[in-house]
Each structure stands twice: as structure tokens, then as C-alpha cells.
């Protein structure tokens, strides 16, 4: 059975991705319209946020983050001191990965009487993002997913389990989410396909590129504007020597403004020997990352660290950025990335410090045993003995 036929049997036909992207843009405008008419209207700012989140996630439009900052700023002027404004500010801060600030706004919104269900929901999201109260987050996610069975709840649990390297259960949850889906919007379907691609391409102990490629391709087929899926698909194409496929997949995403597209294109051009094109894309990627880091450092620190440790050729900067990411959300993945960059930068002290940090924080969880850092620990212990 091909991935395509699998997907067809797992969910209802969804709206054509091109139509959905155009209509998302319309819906996004609608939400701004309602907001501008009456910023204090119930739910107006929340719907703007939801549409901007979708735009950032599925169209790769990084300026969505600037727009949500504008939204929070506007709301702070027009409806200062309300629980609703504090809640929106918390969501915006969370969206741009300023988790500490988000928690402050959340606390303020709770103090001002925001609905506890909303405060709890966002607290759970933030806890999951920065791995605070991990056991409790997992318990809550399981309870919510079991109770609602909704796609977003199943995917949230699946994503957490995938991060914890429980890949079998994560896969099962993602497939259940597809099976249960009864709507026509392609966004959730593309999202699940993307998650399955990441799971099989990056998180399982022995990545299965072909399987990951199929899921990424399904995500792109479902939603051609899905820039992140294009970038991941292109990476797989490039790794398997299909550079023209990689170029085609990336070229149509340049307009998104996501610097990762230019970075991967630079790599593809370099492998094709088109060094002038590669350099032009590399410059654009560097400019794009620098601009984003200037405005949204925590949100792009990990991606930029990856860029600078590779094609961006600035490992010192990469390590600084990886450390910023670890400070902001010390997940196992963040620590693994920072450690790997420290090693590649030849900074043994930083690598050792990061390994110790990872061990201190996460050696008690099962996921750590499946981490490359666990073997290093064993190696270090062996060396010490």
C-alpha cells in the first residue's frame, strides 16, 4: 500500500491546498477586520491569533510573528489591564517562544479573572514546549486526548511522546488522528503528515528516509504552501542525491520569506557546482536569519544555530545561539543540539558542561537512554574507570 492510498483511506477528501491557502488568507483578513472594527469584541483577537498561527505554521510566512506582536501592542493600548489582553499577550509571547514572559502574562491574566480552562490550556502548551513539569504534562495530555479524541489533542500527545522517543505510540496516535478526522480543512491533515515525516525521518533510532519522504510528500501534496514540509522533503531529496527534485521543491517556497528555504537552496546549488547561485542564496539566508534573530531571537535560535553550525560557517555563533535555546527551553533535543555544536566547534568545556546539564536534568527519564548523550555518558564513565 502506498502512502497516498493509505492517506486516502485514513481521512475524508480535504479542500484543495491551493484553495485552502487562499481562503486562509481571506479568513486571516476577516479576523483583522473584525478586530479593527472593535478590538475589545469577544474573541476578535483570539481569532486573529489563530489565523496568524496557521499562516506562520502552514505558509511559512515569518512576518506573521511581527503581525501578532502588533496585535498584542494594539490590544495593550486599546484594552489595557484586562484579563483578555493579558491572555493574548501570553499567547503571543508563547508563539514567539518567550516562555518566561508568557508565564508572567498568564499569571496576570489569571489574577484578572481569565477563564481557568484557557489559562490551564496555555500553561500546558508552554510546559510542553520547555519541558517543565514533564510527568504532569504527559499525564494531562493523555487524559485530554482520551477524553476529547480530537485531532489537535491527539497530535499534541503524539508530539510529546515523539520527543520522549516513544515512537511506536506516537505513530499510532498520529494515525488515529487522521482516521478520526472528519473535516475538510487540509491544514490538520498536512500537519499530521508532517509530524509523521519528522517521526520517521528524525526521531526514530534508525531513521527511515523513504517512509519520511512519503509523509512529507503527502503533506506538500495536501498543502503546497507548507514551507516547513517542503524544506524537510528537500533535505531528504538532497541526501539521496535528487538535487533537481530538491531545487524544485524549494524554489516555489522562496516567496515565504523563510530563510531556511534559501539556506537549503544554497546547499543544493553548491552540490550542483553553481557556486554563484549558492553564494547568493547563502547571503539571503544569512540576512534573513540575522533579521529574524534581531526581532525574535528565542523563536529562531535553534534553526539559526543549525544554519551557522553548517552552511553558515560560524560555529561560535552557532554555539551561542544553541545555548540561548537551551536557556529558554532546556529540552533533551535542545541539549543534544547544543552539545553536538559544541563538539563540532571544538569547545570541549562547553560540550562537557552541556552533557552534565543534560544528565542532571534528564538522565532519570527513559528518553535519555535512547539519546546519543547517553552513550557519551557511558563512554565518559568508561574513560573515568
Amino acid at each position: 500500500m502506498t502512502a497516498s492510498s493509505e492517506l486516502e483511506h485514513e481521512c475524508f477528501p480535504t479542500t484543495d491546498g491551493e484553495i485552502a491557502a487562499v481562503n486562509l488568507e481571506s479568513a486571516r483578513r476577516r479576523s483583522w477586520s473584525v478586530f479593527f472594527q472593535d478590538p475589545c469584541r469577544d474573541g476578535a483577537a483570539d481569532i486573529v491569533l489563530e489565523h496568524e498561527r496557521l499562516t506562520a505554521q502552514f505558509v511559512g510566512d515569518v512576518s506573521a510573528l511581527d503581525r501578532v506582536e502588533t496585535l498584542a501592542m494594539h490590544l495593550a493600548q486599546t484594552d489595557a489591564g484586562s484579563a483578555r489582553t493579558a491572555l493574548v499577550q501570553a499567547q503571543v509571547a508563547s508563539m514567539v517562544h518567550r516562555f518566561a514572559e508568557a508565564r508572567q502574562h498568564l499569571a496576570e491574566s489569571a489574577r484578572l479573572g481569565a477563564p481557568s480552562a484557557e489559562v490551564d490550556r496555555l500553561t500546558l502548551n508552554i510546559d510542553q514546549a520547555d519541558w517543565s513539569n514533564l510527568d504532569s504534562v504527559l499525564d494531562q495530555r493523555r487524559e485530554i486526548a482520551e477524553k476529547s479524541g480530537r485531532l489537535d489533542d491527539l497530535v499534541a500527545l503524539g508530539a510529546l511522546l515523539a520527543d520522549l522517543r516513544d515512537c511506536t505510540e506516537a505513530d499510532s496516535l498520529y494515525r488515529q488522528a487522521l482516521e478520526n478526522y472528519q473535516d475538510v480543512s487540509p491544514f490538520p491533515v498536512a500537519w499530521v503528515c508532517f509530524q509523521l515525516g519528522v517521526l520517521w525521518g528524525e526521531l526514530v533510532p534508525e531513521p527511515q528516509r523513504l517512509l519520511a519522504e512519503r509523509w512529507y510528500r503527502r503533506a506538500v501534496d495536501c498543502l503546497p504552501s507548507y514551507t516547513k514540509a517542503r524544506v524537510h522533503l528537500a533535505e531528504i531529496y538532497a541526501l539521496s542525491g535528487r538535487t533537481s527534485d530538491a531545487e524544485a521543491v524549494l524554489s516555489s517556497a522562496i516567496g515565504s520569506g523563510d530563510p531556511e528555504v534559501r539556506w537549503r537552496l544554497a546547499d543544493v546549488m553548491a552540490s550542483l557546482g553553481r557556486s554563484a547561485d549558492a553564494e547568493a542564496h547563502l547571503q539571503a539566508a544569512r540576512r534573513g536569519f540575522d533579521a529574524l534573530l534581531g526581532r525574535h531571537l528565542p523563536a529562531f535560535a535553534d534553526h539559526a544555530a543549525e544554519f551557522y553550525s553548517g552552511s553558515g560557517k560560524d560555529r561560535r555563533r552557532a554555539l551561542e545561539l544553541a545555548r540561548v535555546n537551551v536557556a529558554n527551553r532546556p529540552t533533551l533535543r535542545a541539549l543534544e543540539q547544543a552539545h553536538e555544536i559544541a563538539v563540532s566547534a571544538g569547545d570541549a568545556a562547553a560540550a562537557s558542561e552541556l552533557l552534565a546539564d543534560a544528565r542532571k536534568r534528564w538522565s532519570s527519564i527513559a528518553a535519555f537512554q535512547r539519546s546519543p548523550l547517553a552513550n557519551l555518558r557511558a563512554a565518559m564513565q568508561g574513560a573515568a574507570a
Binding site: N23, D42, I254, G257
Partner: protein, 501 residues
């Protein structure tokens, strides 16, 4: 809004979100009936119908089965069904806009192909049926802040919707000699899963009968802490809400109607009448009688007269220009003792007398303006921002100036890689102002921007203004882009020069 954004599920795909249903006698020809349904509230100029949805308008014959506190309407099969489906976009040459085609399946299985946004629509060879689908001005008028029951301007001013219209020969299609009262609903249902069993129908996404069944009745914001039943309601089968859930919905509608009755502090509905009203409301379909006249005032007259224990006089239904919210609120709050009127009396554009009866979409000249007061003299501020090719805006990564003086072009590259090209149209150094046009990069036509620095006490005031016609992406996308550019730019001046009051 009538049925706009009325449940968590429809937020996922706004093209599945039904806003309104209409039934009226054709203003062009009294022998013809018009049914119409709208989806996708406040869409931009490029909005498109989903290709994964079956959109249907369904009509059943109805009859009055009880009067007064026993008021009841019964409907009978067979159904007369009009179903609209839409294709994916057709890409023509690069310089041509993509088009969408659709198909309307008519009662009896005949199909009619049409092109979306072709206002002439398409007709069957015998002229019995005519259909249209496309972008139109939203005829809905909501001039209230519903939670607080406060008059307001029309919240849907300048909004557009995607509209489906079917017009037909009343006598041939509805056979009114067998009974002239009908009940209509509209629904959106996903297309079936490939290979699914025939009996396994996809769950309904949205449906609508009378206006505001969901947003004002089931989810009355006046009922604090009540569960949101809209999603559950939308998934029920029209004309056949199961008994097990009927009680849940009926209790909510009763509670909601009682709440509305007391919004003006006066009780106009007796408990018996209120219970009858709730029963009538729970059978949520738009009643219309093709043997009687439908007018802008006839909406709900069939229900009101029946609840009052007398024969109805009009065709009921719902015309394009009916102010359904005020009619509904007047009925619920005062039982027609006193008219309840919102803060506006007409929608953005009235309906038309000719097919397709819904007005052209809205494209009005829009303005965005922002001002900041600074702690620096005007000359100092002008020295920074008065150069057309000056580099001072934090969202601009690069700027190139081509030419000099009036007519010169500036090519801006934003920090997220977008390119904007603007032409200097006029500059007045003495008045510290310049005017420019956007050539490319902002999805608007007739875009004129003005930047001006004025004295303001010991400091200065900077005003930045743009007027434009939304072009292709609709007003709000453009408004947001411009607003963000202006706000960010002016705020950066505050950091540089300090803000004053």
C-alpha cells in the same frame, strides 16, 4: 452574524461556514422563486469555494399542524434538493486570473455547469432553472453588540461572502397546487471518503434554517457559563433532530428565549407561549409560502401569526434586504409590542432587482493613518525621514533609489525578503512633506502615501497616511501590512527622538 463562525469545527475551513439562507419571490418575475445560501463570512476578493464540500439547499413541503400555544409546523418528504459542488482552480495563462467552475445538481438529477463569478449565471435549456455562484456584498446587517444588547454600527460593513443562488419556475418545480407552504435549510457536508460504504455518510459540517439559531439562541451570550452546543447542533440531521438530543436543545432554546424576553426588563411571553415558541424554533427551517407575497418585512410572519393563533398573511421567507436581526429581536424581546432597532438600518449595499439579486462585492477606497508626537524639532526629524530614499525604517533591510526628485523610484527590500517599489509624486521641503505612489509590493491599487512632519509645541508630530483600493487580497491584508509598516516605523522614531504628549 446570522450563522457566521458558529462553531469550533467550522473555524477550520471558513469556506464550509454557512452564513445565511434566503427564500423569496423573484423581483424580476413573480412566477419564479429564488433560493440562496451564503458561505465564508467576510472573504477577500480572491475567496474560493471548497472543492471538498457538497453545498445543498433542501426544501420540503410543510404544513401548519397547530396554532397558538400548540403551534407546530410539520414537514414531509420527498425533499427537493439543489446541490452545488466546485472544482479545483483552473490555471490559464500566467497573466490571467485562475477560474473556478462548479456544478449544480438539480431536483431529478439534472446538472448545470457554471463559472464562478459569472454574474449571468447559467440556465437550463428550457429556462426552468438558473444558477449563480460567486463573490457578493454580504447583505447581512448586524448593528448590535449582542452580548450587551447595545446598538452599534453594522459589524459587517464592507464585508463580502461567497453566494450560491438558484432561481426556478415555481409552478413546475414546487407544484404549489399540492400545498404552497415550504421549509428550507442549507447544509455543507464533506464529500464521501473514497471507498467508503454507501451508508456511511460523512458528518455534516454546518447547516442553517432560520437566522441565528446558533449564535443568538443556542449560544446566547446572556446565559453565563452555558455549554457551547453549536457544534453538536450543526452535526444533527436537519428536519430530524433525534429525540434524545431534542430535549437538550429544547431546554436551551427555552432558557435562551426567556433570557431574551427579559432583556428590556419586561415579560412579554407567557410560559405557554414561550414553550410553543421554543418548539417552533427547534424545528429550524426557513418557512416560505409561494402563494403569498414575500417582502422585506415578511420574515417570521408565518411563525408569529401561527404562535398568535391566527392564519398567516404573507409569504414569510427571507428577502435579501430583510433586516432579520431586528425582526427577530423585536419578536423575542417585545413580542412585537415595540420595535427593536439596531444602530444601522441597511446593509452595506441593498440587493438588486435583477438576477443574481445580491449586490456586487465591496471595494471601497480605504485609509490607514498613524501619528506620533516626538521630543525633537521638526527639522531634525525631517532631516532623517524626509529623504525619499532614506534608510531609517527598522522593517527595511535594504533600499535603492533610482533617479532623483519627483518621479524617482525607491526599491525597498523588507527584512523578510519582500520587495516594495514606490514612486515619489511630490515633495514640499518647506512643509516637510512628501507624497508617493506604490508601484509594486503592496497588493493595492490607487495607493497614495503621504508623510508629513509638523511642529508640535517644542517638538514635532509625524503623520503617515495611505489611501488605497484593495486589489486582489482584500482590505484587511493590505491594512495589516500598511498598519504594521507605519506603526513599526513611527515607533522606531519614538525610540530615537523620544515621545511627547
Amino acid at each position: 452574524m446570522s450563522d457566521h463562525i458558529d462553531g469550533p469545527r467550522v473555524i477550520g475551513d471558513p469556506a464550509a461556514d454557512l452564513t445565511d439562507l434566503f427564500a423569496f419571490t423573484s423581483p424580476e418575475n413573480p412566477d419564479r422563486t429564488v433560493l440562496a445560501a451564503n458561505v465564508f463570512p467576510t472573504c477577500g476578493a480572491d475567496a474560493i469555494f471548497s472543492n471538498a464540500i457538497n453545498h445543498s439547499i433542501v426544501v420540503r413541503r410543510a404544513k401548519v399542524a397547530g396554532l397558538g400555544d400548540a403551534a407546530k409546523f410539520e414537514t414531509t418528504e420527498p425533499e427537493i434538493r439543489f446541490s452545488f459542488r466546485f472544482d479545483v482552480l483552473e490555471r490559464g495563462p500566467a497573466d490571467r486570473k485562475a477560474i473556478q467552475r462548479g456544478t449544480c445538481m438539480l431536483p431529478g438529477g439534472q446538472t448545470l455547469r457554471f463559472v464562478v463569478n459569472d454574474k449571468a449565471g447559467a440556465s437550463t435549456a428550457d429556462g426552468v432553472f438558473r444558477v449563480f455562484a460567486g463573490l457578493r456584498s454580504d447583505p447581512f446587517l448586524l448593528a448590535w453588540i449582542i452580548p450587551t444588547f447595545t446598538r452599534f454600527q453594522n459589524l459587517l460593513q464592507n464585508d463580502n461572502v461567497l453566494c450560491m443562488v438558484v432561481e426556478f419556475d415555481t409552478r413546475l418545480v414546487l407544484e404549489p397546487e399540492k400545498g404552497s407552504l415550504f421549509a428550507a435549510i442549507a447544509e455543507t457536508v464533506p464529500l464521501p471518503r473514497p471507498g467508503a460504504f454507501v451508508s456511511h455518510e460523512p458528518p455534516r459540517i454546518d447547516w442553517v434554517g432560520r437566522p441565528e439559531q446558533t449564535n443568538i439562541l443556542l449560544n446566547n451570550p446572556g446565559l453565563r457559563g452555558a455549554d457551547d452546543l453549536r457544534d453538536l447542533w450543526n452535526q444533527q440531521t436537519p428536519f430530524a433532530v433525534p429525540d434524545a438530543l431534542r430535549t437538550v436543545f429544547l431546554d436551551r432554546v427555552k432558557e435562551s428565549l426567556a433570557n431574551w424576553d427579559m432583556r428590556d426588563g419586561k415579560q412579554d411571553w407567557t410560559p405557554g407561549a414561550l414553550a410553543a415558541h421554543a418548539n417552533v424554533r427547534l424545528d429550524d427551517h426557513l418557512l416560505f409560502d409561494v402563494a403569498k407575497p414575500t417582502t422585506d418585512a415578511s420574515h417570521l410572519e408565518i411563525e408569529k401569526s401561527t404562535l398568535d393563533g391566527r392564519s398567516y398573511q404573507s409569504g414569510g421567507g427571507r428577502t435579501v434586504d430583510a433586516n432579520v436581526i431586528d425582526i427577530m429581536l423585536t419578536m423575542m424581546v417585545t413580542r412585537d409590542r415595540e420595535a427593536v432597532r439596531g444602530g444601522a438600518t441597511s446593509a452595506t449595499k441593498p440587493g438588486t432587482k435583477a438576477f443574481p439579486y445580491f449586490a456586487e462585492p465591496n471595494t471601497n477606497l480605504q485609509t490607514v493613518a498613524d501619528t506620533i508626537n516626538l521630543n525633537a524639532p521638526p527639522d531634525k526629524v525631517w532631516a532623517l525621514i524626509g529623504q525619499f530614499g532614506g534608510y531609517w525604517h527598522p522593517l527595511i533591510a535594504d533600499i535603492k533609489l533610482v533617479g532623483t526628485g519627483v518621479g524617482s523610484l525607491r526599491i525597498l527590500e523588507t527584512i523578510d525578503g519582500k520587495r516594495i517599489v514606490e514612486r515619489l509624486d511630490a515633495i514640499d521641503e518647506a512643509a516637510r512633506s512628501y507624497r508617493y505612489s506604490n508601484i509594486a509590493g503592496i497588493p493595492a491599487s490607487n495607493y497614495t502615501g503621504t508623510l508629513e512632519v509638523k511642529p508640535n509645541g517644542a517638538g514635532s508630530s509625524v503623520e503617515w497616511r495611505a489611501e488605497y483600493l484593495a486589489d486582489g487580497q482584500g482590505d484587511l491584508a493590505v491594512r495589516t501590512i500598511i498598519y504594521t509598516l507605519f506603526k513599526t516605523g513611527l515607533n522606531s522614531l519614538k525610540q530615537r527622538f523620544g515621545a511627547s504628549q
